[in-house]
Amino acid sequence: MEVETTVKDSKSPNFALPVDSEHKASVFRLFSLAKPHMRAFHLSWVSFFSCFVSTFAAPPLLPIIRDDLNLTTTDIGNAGIASVSGAVFARIAMGTACDLFGPRLASASLILLTAPAVYFTSMANSATSFLLVRFFTGFSLATFVSTQFWMSSMFSAPVVGGANGLAGGWGNLGGGATQLIMPLVFSLIRDLGAAKFTAWRIAFFIPALFQTLSAFAVLLFGQDTPDGNFHNLKKSGEKPKDKFSRVLFLGVTNYRGWILALTYGYCFGVELTVDNIIAEYFFDRFNLKLHTAGMIAASFGLANIVSRPAGGIMSDAVSRRFGMRGRIWALWVVQTLGGVFCVILGRVGSLGASVAVMILFSFFVQAACGLTFGIVPFVSRRSLGVISGMTGGGGNVGAVLTQLIFFKGSRYSKETGITLMGIMIMCCTLPLTMIYFPQWGGMFCGPSSTNKVAEEDYYLSEWSSKEKEKGFHEASVKFAENSRSERGGKVDSVTSRVDETSSSPNDV
């Protein structure tokens, strides 16, 4: 019997990067394409980027599309809401799919199945058809979950925040890049002689093709885990096939997932809303040219190149000193400041000040997104996908809610809507104070001093004793060991905390 695959051999095959016991990379080298870790990173952010480009390809061209399809403000508002509502459930479904089938197949399938919606956008001829294509295109935003899942599978605790932040941030960049790309492509096609109303239709082929090609790349060059694809690992017995109902149940009954879903709605959700309304806002309020409004709107999304990764890196940096408690505090501070700048954005009346405040606002709001996914990988190990999906889905719910409440119809002027949205951000960030990890603590409380909960207790509680007998929980054991760094301070994995938590030192 030949064992051809290297996965059986627990003495790790040569990885290009240093790895931990789970073969997750413990460093992050941005300019490397080494398989499997860095290659997975680049594949995931590029494919996610393409989905963002497609989903937000319509907003910068709305001044043309609204005339072609004879849209009213309500039609535009409804389509905007539709574009982000599809992904609410798609993200949760994607989370489960990642847990069961692996991020590579899950994301590539979704991307290829939503590409037709982007192609069909060029055929839209009414408010209804426009809404439908934006709705189905928006499903592709669920690839966010697969990027975070993939990064959490490839990178270990000290760098997972940064990896998640970079993959998410550079993908989100698509929302900004599209505001530049689409008007440019449109101008090019129109200058070649096409009528305005034809040029925008042709322009949509660019994001559609990009999306299709990136899915092919993921399928051809990607790999689910450092040890191989789910399919092969299941066959070789290394990865036991998990029970869907159990995975889902554990995910939805973890209250921390729900709190993060809510708060993510007010950083990421707000980011999506702004992607939808900001170009029209600048075009109409300051009487700018389409191209100029597009550039300003783009700079909001383009800030993602640094802001979201900065959030993730900040989360990792804070965790080194203060552990999980630091991660939660940092998220609360940054997201609340995002709300403050949102309020100010709605109040300033001059173009220069608006742009400046918008950039500050974008930095804080996007950093908050990065900080959120510095916490998500630790909420559950068995149901990582479901938790990521819930949080991601919550982000989209926030986008739907904010657009419904503040930007549909003519109830509020856009400026007032923006200010009120800022106030809502500040209120909906407060629930972070309620997150508590018994092994590490929460914002206001230290780790449980009465029960002396260790990381293993938390993560292994997800497995029943029967499952443990069969050894299904092995991966969680390794993860628990590796997550001890979330205690913060200069702590060795063997010694226990001796600061404010325990009143009397115990034998370890």
Binding site: A195, A215, S410
Partner: protein, 205 residues
């Protein structure tokens, strides 16, 4: 005669001051001294890119002579009727002419002359679907609007015509969309089938 001239001159000077000192021109301050007519009849539907409109404009002779002495240029524009402005803030009528979005398309701009003027215009290909009327503005040498005329009544209810826009769709585009979509979906299933085949053959080895 001299008294008339003096009165008129002072009125004109004052009106110039009024506009230059505030900087903004309000539509409600403009006098409707021009008569503008256009060839489309009430409710007529014109095709964008194909049909033509003939516009005529002239000074309304019931106004005293010399009313038009400040007029330097005439700009004739195509304007949205209220039906096409409903729920569309980007076409809103605002009294401040610098912010007004009612008339977004230029038909013709000519130096002003007192005699009857006429122009034949082919409806532009890129015009959106909607209900329209025609308005002409008279500008003075500082390029500020001083008078206007329009084909419809002050409430913009009569003599409106429709323009039918092109959809921008082409059969070739539609076919290409469908082909590429089918390709995306089929390639996904093709890939699954290929992987299954690989797995089977590696099991057999």
């Amino acid at each position: 005669m001299a008294g008339h001239g003096l009165l008129l001159a002072s009125l004109l000077i004052l009106s110039c001051f009024a506009e230059t000192s505030f900087g903004t021109v309000y539509f409600s301050s403009l006098q409707r001294t021009l008569i503008v007519t256009a060839s489309p009849k009430q409710g007529q539907v014109l095709k964008a890119g194909e049909d033509k409109i003939t516009v005529n404009w002239a000074l309304n002779t019931t106004f005293p002579a010399g009313t038009d002495s400040a007029y330097k240029t005439i700009k004739v524009k195509l304007c949205y009727a209220p039906a096409s402005q409903v729920e569309r803030g980007w076409r809103k009528t605002v009294d401040d002419l610098s912010k007004d979005k009612t008339c977004q398309f230029n038909i013709v701009a000519r130096p002003y002359s007192a005699s009857n003027k006429s122009f034949e215009w082919t409806v532009e290909r890129d015009l959106p679907l909607g209900t329209y009327f025609v308005r002409a503005y008279a500008y003075n040498s500082e390029d500020a609007a001083v008078a206007f005329g329009q084909t419809t009544d002050p409430h913009k209810t009569t003599n409106l015509f429709n323009i039918e826009a092109i959809s921008g769709r082409h059969l070739s585009l539609d076919v290409t969309s469908i082909c590429f979509s089918a390709f995306s979906v089929l390639s996904l299933f093709g890939f699954f089938w290929y992987e299954k085949r690989e797995a089977k053959s590696s099991q057999q080895k």
